[in-house]
């Protein structure tokens, strides 16, 4: 592991703490108001003015959902290779590492939630938009295999633009690989709870994001297979209000419940307890 990564903070407006002494403000994309960063951070990364959900990096996501100091990471060192010698891919990986301060687009491990032991993965939108390449697929597969062996539930937090183009068919077939591992976990009677966050689309939507026993989503999260621009172009018409938003996807029958960020940990804890954990 790079020593550096222990000290450096993630490189985005909300996570960068280098200027902490100065009270910083950022403009909320939704309401346009100036909001203090510390207030947002204390408010589960939700805008205190308008309720807009800011993206949350994977590591913080796990902190939000699990018991303090319970998370033990697995397979942190797996790093992507440019299997197809795809142009400009190495540069993109480097930039993604710099931006996310992570080695890849998903973090996996074990933790406890309300004292119950779980396997957990959280995808990171700062790493090439949470796209799924061989390493993301491998890490999630290994997690499901471990959970199957140990009879543990899996909690998954998804955020992804889909399969990673730069790895071609290798990335597409991660959908098959992970789905097969989820099936084995499922066949042994284990619980898989998935929390869909904004956005969960493409190949991730068409595989493990849609395979939970219980499917939760954050308010307003975009959930869907095809990109909205592709659909607009195909149909040559504007998309209806709320299309592919979690609330609409729930109405269509594909989400069990929409759970607000401050309530997610307790909600998942309750579900675990109801499964005797």
């Amino acid at each position: 592991m790079e020593l550096k990564s222990l000290f450096l903070k993630v490189n985005n407006e909300l996570e960068n703490t280098e200027n902490r002494r100065v009270s910083r403000k950022i403009t909320c994309k939704k309401c346009g108001k100036q909001v203090s960063v510390s207030k947002i951070r204390k408010n589960f990364f939700i805008c205190p003015e308008c309720g807009h959900y800011f993206p949350v990096r994977a590591r913080r996501r796990i902190l939000m959902l699990t018991d303090k100091r319970s998370f033990v990471e697995m397979d942190r060192d797996l790093e992507s290779k440019n299997i197809l010698s795809f142009p400009e891919y190495e540069e993109k990986i480097l930039a993604a590492k710099e931006k996310s301060r992570e080695n890849e687009g998903v973090i996996c491990g074990t933790a406890t939630i309300g004292g119950s032991k779980v396997c957990i993965f959280a995808m990171d939108g700062n790493f090439m938009m949470g796209s799924m390449g061989a390493v993301v697929g491998e890490k999630i597969t290994r997690l499901f295999e471990y959970a199957t062996k140990e009879s543990l539930p899996v909690i998954g937090v998804t955020v992804s633009g889909g399969a990673r183009m730069q790895e071609g068919m290798v990335s597409l077939m991660q959908m098959s690989k992970v789905s097969a591992a989820v099936k084995r976990h499922d066949s042994k009677g284990n619980l898989y709870i998935v929390l869909l966050t904004n956005p969960t689309t493409g190949g991730v939507d068409a595989s493990f994001a849609m395979l939970g026993d219980i499917t939760l989503a954050e308010p307003g999260a975009r959930v869907g297979f095809a990109g909205p621009r592709v659909i607009e172009k195909t149909l040559n018409q504007k998309l209806p209000e709320g299309f592919q938003k979690a609330e609409r996807v729930l109405e269509c029958g594909f989400i069990d419940e929409i759970v607000k960020r401050p309530e997610q940990k307790d909600y998942i804890d309750r579900l675990l307890k109801l499964h005797g954990m």
Partner: protein, 250 residues
């Protein structure tokens, strides 16, 4: 042909479609319709018949022939009910110990409001999920276009074969060029970089065989393959399939 020409050729209206392959290879074909949940998606042509002496379930993504036929088959872009029909018939095949042969030829699953709202993502995911544990042999043949998740949904087989001039890709070269370089003109660069041709995918170990549309030879190859797979116990078959996908990328 360069790689982009292969993609364009795979889209050509002159190529054999799934229905042609069914006519060439399958005796006594009986087509079955509907997913029993919503409707019948004509983009998927499915039923039972015999290849050689083996009763099989056949599932093909069909693009159609002339304009009217193409509209009827939605240009080979399946809706969720198409994937659910496919899965229903695969489960039926498992019940009656029939192998499944899939013919794959699609630019992709249909990107529409209705398709999304009826759960396109879930329908594809369910195919992958259930096929991974289907206790009967599955052979998938990419005969033309292997367009992303919509094609992959029917490729969770014991073996994946590709016609020599077919392609299989995570994304169309045009979309790839547009997303990465904001320039559709660079689709040829994208096509090359994506490693989407049959020889390249064979070299990468992602497909098992390259075939030519020679009727007699192909029929023999399919019969041999199915016979070998039918000799495996159900457990061996499913374990072997798991390992096949397990090693992708690692």
């Amino acid at each position: 042909m360069n790689d982009y020409e292969i993609v364009k050729n795979a889209r050509s209206e002159k190529r054999l479609t799934s229905v042609d392959y069914i006519k060439l290879l399958v005796k006594d074909f009986a087509e079955f319709h509907g997913d029993r949940l919503f409707g019948d998606d004509r983009a998927i042509v499915a039923g039972i018949g015999k290849i050689g002496d083996i009763p099989v379930t056949v599932i093909g993504i069909e693009k159609g022939k002339d304009t009217n036929d193409r509209i009827l088959h939605n240009f080979g872009s399946a809706m969720p009910e198409g994937y659910r029909k496919a899965l229903r018939l695969m489960k039926q095949a498992e019940k009656f110990d029939r192998p499944v042969v899939c013919f794959v030829d699609t630019a992709g699953a249909y990107p529409g409001i209705d398709a999304e709202e009826r759960g396109q993502g879930r329908a594809i995911a369910d195919c992958l999920f259930e096929m991974s544990n289907l206790k009967t042999p599955v052979l998938s043949l990419v005969i033309g276009e292997g367009g992303s998740g919509g094609a992959l949904a029917l490729c969770h087989g014991d073996e994946i074969w590709m016609e020599e001039d077919a392609y299989f890709s995570v994304v169309s070269p045009e979309s790839c060029a547009n997303i990465l370089w904001k320039n559709v003109e660079k689709a040829d660069v994208a096509a090359k970089a994506l490693c989407l041709t049959a020889p390249k995918l064979y070299e990468l170990g992602l497909i098992d065989r390259i075939f030519s549309a020679d009727k007699k030879k192909l029929k023999n190859e399919i019969v041999n393959c199915l016979q070998n797979l039918m000799e495996l116990s159900k457990e061996e078959l499913v374990d072997r399939r798991y390992e096949k996908f397990r090693k992708v990328g690692y």
